[in-house]
């Protein structure tokens, strides 16, 4: 019986329990006089309670038994293999082979006396049945795999038996408990409340998962590469991890990537902030309702366009345009490269316009109306009111908004992957290509790389750097914005 079937049967038991429990509660209710004794819960709640009793403990036990069983078997294979092979790297390969062998045995339906004595014999049988097995397996693997299979069978039987028994017991127990005054509703609601609480911790688990997984791989990376040369290195030249050639050590200097990231973010902010801020001010203070109601959604369209589309736009339209323009200006020599800081920065800036504008719109509208009226009543013009009263009052909020925007710019990936280039160098000419942290994460993790090499692991170190950087900016920005809002509430 597969796990799916067990779950299905448990759920079916739960459904039957629901039905009978609700029926019993209904009969009890109908046979008593409401004036004498008031039933506590509706029959459906008794039904749900029975469903919960039948399914929840049973499925939990099933999960526990399954994971304990696989842990035990894995441990056994590990210790057994270790007696044959000392080298951990080779051992992990052999462990995989034992797993394949036991799968093959299972598929061929071989157990006990049927199991062939040698690996080669098994491999022949498997091949003729269309199952592929590695060539280099050894003979000790076959009895090991067979005995693991036998144990797994026993564990499975125990687990499934226990699960079904528990489901029936839970159903019977809850059925026997049904009384008029049983607080079935409260108990069901408590279970629901717990599951709501569990759902709300998913966000926390995600954060924990991000930090733990990246931290783990980063520590792994720093066991190969000195953290100092990573954080302060000025050369990025990871090389490729050609299998078996341990000699070619790469250089993993963060500085050129960080510079590129910050430079492109700066260019994009220089473009997006004036445009976005002025657009927000104009729409908030000057535009008629009709203009606002058409322009605002149109500008927000920019925020809904996927970043890959911006990237393509940069590569096929804006980049070549800048290149040809510079060639025309300089008489044939194009001093702007097709992939450049400028192109990436401007396209990213376009993407950020609606972000800046909607964030600063929120901030500006939070300035109390009275302040504006006070200034206008003194005879200040509207632009004077905006420049001298509203913007200064909104400044902390705007700073927070800009920090949030900048963190978007730093974490942006697709635009820079397509438009910024892959050359990791320190360079202050905006017309040339630079690369960013995100580009290198993508570069290092696409293609067929060996997972445990520093070339791959460096992506996690980069990711952790990026995460820390943006997290810091976000936390600080949200703090500023909240302080700012409280001031005017």
């Amino acid at each position: 019986m597969s796990a799916g079937w067990v779950v299905a049967i448990v759920l079916a038991i739960g459904a039957v329990a629901y039905f009978f429990a609700a029926q019993r509660a209904r009969v009890q209710r109908d046979s008593t006089d409401r004036a004498k004794e008031v039933p506590h819960s509706l029959p459906t709640y008794h039904g749900w309670l029975a469903f919960i009793f039948a399914t929840v403990p049973a499925l939990l036990v099933f999960l526990v038994v399954s994971s304990v069983s696989s842990g035990l078997l894995e441990g056994r294979i590990r210790t057994e293999v270790a007696t044959h092979i000392a080298d951990p790297a080779a051992a992990s390969l052999s462990i995989g082979m034992v797993h394949n062998t036991s799968n093959a045995l299972g598929q061929l339906g071989l157990s006990g006396a049927n199991v062939p004595a040698s690996y080669a014999a098994l491999r022949d049988m498997a091949t003729s049945a269309g199952i592929s097995l590695a060539e280099s397996g050894e003979d000790y693997m076959v009895p090991l795999a067979a005995s693991v299979n036998a144990d797994a069978g026993v564990h499975k039987l125990i687990g499934q038996g226990l699960t079904l028994l528990l489901a029936l017991a839970g159903a019977a127990f809850s059925y026997s408990r049904i009384r008029l005054r049983l607080r079935a509703r409260n108990q069901v609601e408590r279970v629901v409340l717990w599951s709501l609480l569990a759902a709300s911790t998913v966000a926390v688990l995600t954060t924990v998962g991000i930090i733990l997984s990246m931290l783990g791989e980063t520590i792994h990376f720093f066991s190969d590469v000195n953290p100092l040369t990573f954080f302060f290195g000025t050369v990025w030249d990871p090389r490729f991890a050609a299998a078996g050639s341990g000699g070619s050590e790469g250089q993993f200097g963060l500085i050129p990537l960080l510079m590129g990231t910050l430079y492109i973010a700066l260019v994009s902010m220089l473009f997006a902030v004036p445009v976005g801020l002025m657009a927000a001010v104009y729409m908030g203070e000057y535009a008629s309702n009709r203009v606002r109601s058409t322009v605002k959604p149109l500008l927000e369209l920019l925020a809904g366009i996927p970043t890959i589309v911006y990237g393509i736009f940069a590569v096929v339209t804006l980049g070549p345009f800048f290149r040809d323009l510079s060639a025309a200006l300089a008489g044939g020599f194009s001093f702007i490269q097709a992939q450049s800081v400028l192109t990436a920065g401007i396209v990213m800036g376009v993407m950020l316009i609606p972000v800046v504008s909607s964030l600063s719109d929120d901030v500006i509208t939070a300035v109390p109306r009275a302040m504006r009226d006070g200034s206008l009543a003194l005879g200040a013009t509207r632009s004077e009111t905006i420049r001298k009263v509203i913007l200064p009052a909104a400044l902390p909020g705007i700073v927070g908004a800009l920090l949030l925007t900048a963190s978007r710019a730093i974490g942006e990936t697709m635009i820079v992957v397509l438009a910024a280039g892959v050359a990791a160098r320190i360079n202050f000419n905006p017309f040339e290509a630079m690369t960013t942290i995100t580009v290198k994460i993508v570069n290092q993790l696409t293609g067929d790389l060996e997972f445990n090499s520093p070339q791959t692991l460096v992506a996690f170190a980069l990711g952790l750097t990026l995460f820390t950087l943006t997290l810091g900016m976000n936390v600080y920005a949200l703090y500023i914005v909240r302080k700012y809002r409280e001031q005017y509430e």
Partner: protein
């Protein structure tokens, strides 16, 4: 039936020996560290209308809301002392607050019908409390509740229309119908007429007088005239304390306490 005999029927039902329906002993309410109600001792007589009066912020609504534990829904709110409904201490841990609220219904200041049909509005309470055994039962409860709330003739042809489409006064009577559909023993009303015009108010006041036959009613009101018109007993609250309570006619014609005098003559309030 002559006018006089009608008046005698509506006169206070005095049953000096009948036990009170609800009693509050040394009731105190705290919102966080702030105490909103101090040592209130009040008995609520069965099948009477008790009105709670006093200036804004005097604690009358707080006391009302502690009678069906609606205060529980406010974070940081704590009730001390003891409140009994018949023999049951309603703050006892063994009491299920949901059952309590089915026994002690509530009508709010602003009419708040659910954005559902008129029928669904009234049927919701009986449904969740399992009062109706079948559809016919439920129909009967809905119809009789609407009838008792004096709304039947106005809505009988449009039970499936949304309750939010009624006028303010009708909405409030719908809310009363909804509250009495669960067959509560006590009905709490928190300034039920404050959002209504004088005509709708008069209709509701009349309704309250009729409902007294079957329900014990506690009403919070801003209007002393209303208290005088609808209630048999009146309790005057000031600054979180119960200043004076007694028969309505006594309170209004012959108050013993100086603060009460000041309030009903309009010097505080």
């Amino acid at each position: 039936m002559s006018l006089e005999s009608a008046a005698t029927l509506a006169a206070p039902v005095s049953r000096p020996n009948a036990p009170p329906k609800m009693t509050g002993e040394n009731v105190g309410v705290f919102y966080g560290a702030k105490q909103a109600l101090f040592d209130v001792n009040l008995k609520i007589e069965q099948f009477n209308v008790t009105s709670l009066i006093g200036p804004s912020g005097c604690g009358k609504s707080t006391f009302l809301r502690s009678l069906n534990r609606m205060n529980d829904t406010i974070d940081g709110c704590r009730v001390t002392g003891k409140i009994n409904l018949d023999e049951d201490d309603i703050y006892d841990p063994s009491i299920d607050v949901v059952e309590l609220r089915a026994r002690v219904g509530m009508v709010f200041q602003k009419p708040n019908p659910f954005p559902k049909s008129i029928y669904e509005n009234v049927a919701y309470g009986p449904k969740i409390h399992g009062i109706a055994r079948n559809k016919a039962d439920l129909d009967e409860i809905v119809h009789s509740s609407l009838r008792r709330a004096g709304l039947w003739n106005e809505v009988k042809d449009r039970l499936q229309e949304p309750g939010t489409g009624l006028s303010g006064g009708q909405q409030q009577r719908l809310c009363i119908a909804r509250a009495i559909a669960t067959k509560p023993e006590v009905l709490l009303m928190d300034e039920p007429c404050s959002a209504l015009d004088p005509i709708a108010t008069a209709v509701i006041e009349e309704l309250i007088d009729e409902l007294r036959e079957n329900f014990t009613i506690v009403i919070v009101t801003h209007s002393m005239q209303q208290a005088a018109r609808v209630s048999q007993k009146t309790a005057f609250f000031h600054l979180g304390k119960l200043i004076e309570e007694g028969k309505t006619e006594d309170i209004f014609t012959n108050p013993k306490n100086k603060q009460t005098q000041d309030y009903i003559t309009g010097r505080i309030g």
